[in-house]
Symmetry: C2
Subunit: 154 residues, 2 copies
């Protein structure tokens, strides 16, 4: 399978709808390589690197930051190295996993809250006056644990 460095930076840019600046930036971050150049020659990209750029885009859509993507690539690069390296990587990634899970919990709670708020907003008849237990304002206060935030009926 031939994999010559045939594409120019502008080609990649057009392929993926990004700017050349972005591509150079990825290189700057160590995310994407162009083939070896001596001086300030024009960059050339092999199919392999085209695919890599595609992968970057994928991961970006996916919600990862460029830093995270770089770490994943690094992980891949060290994939077959010694056990010590892998252990420390695993450790590092476990803590990242914890963080991510925490973020997900917070996000879930947020989604839950938003849903509740929307539900209340949709339920028109609940909103005027303060019919006791069914009063949205009161339930709101209860939910938010901030009784003084909401003015009670009248």
């Amino acid at each position: 399978m031939s994999d010559e460095a045939t594409h120019k930076i502008g080609d990649l840019a057009r392929m993926f709808g990004v700017t050349t600046r972005a591509i150079r930036y990825y290189e700057e971050l160590g995310l994407l390589e162009s083939d070896d150049r001596d001086g300030p020659e024009h960059r050339r990209y092999s199919e392999r690197n085209v695919i890599r750029l595609k992968r970057i885009q994928q991961l970006k859509d996916y919600g990862l930051t460029l830093a995270e993507i770089r770490e994943l690539f690094e992980l891949a690069r060290l994939d077959r190295s010694g056990a010590a390296v892998r252990a420390s990587l695993a450790q590092k990634y476990r803590s990242r996993l914890e963080e991510a899970k925490k973020r997900r919990e917070a996000l879930d709670a947020y989604i839950d809250d938003l849903s509740w708020h929307i539900e209340q907003l949709d339920r028109v008849e609940d909103f005027f006056g303060c019919p006791g237990a069914a009063c949205a304002a009161c339930r709101w206060a209860e939910r938010c644990d901030v009784r003084s935030l909401v003015t009670r009926g009248a």
Copy 2:
């Protein structure tokens, strides 16, 4: 229940372990009120506002940005207003909900990937050589849909 404006800004700062600058910043953003002042008098806070600051901290821990918190408060403030307002708010919040759900999906995918990576890292015996179908590197490539990212066996 008495709710006089008795606390000074430094008191709140100490109570919650934040700086006075932060508290003023919250006021600047419309998150927190101090009681009406004429000129540049010292700010005074009633119990109500202490609770409000507590709520802000809660929501921050919770993962929300100050802007999001402000919006939630605004929502609470408009709670009992007319149907038109509520409808438009509901609309707005529905789109926020969509966004949040998307973010959650991305986060889930990320968590899934990370878990997988960690699992592979832990499975020491998979990592040397390329024993065909069980080769972590190859499966990695498959999973990542980037065959050229990982060097095949030998």
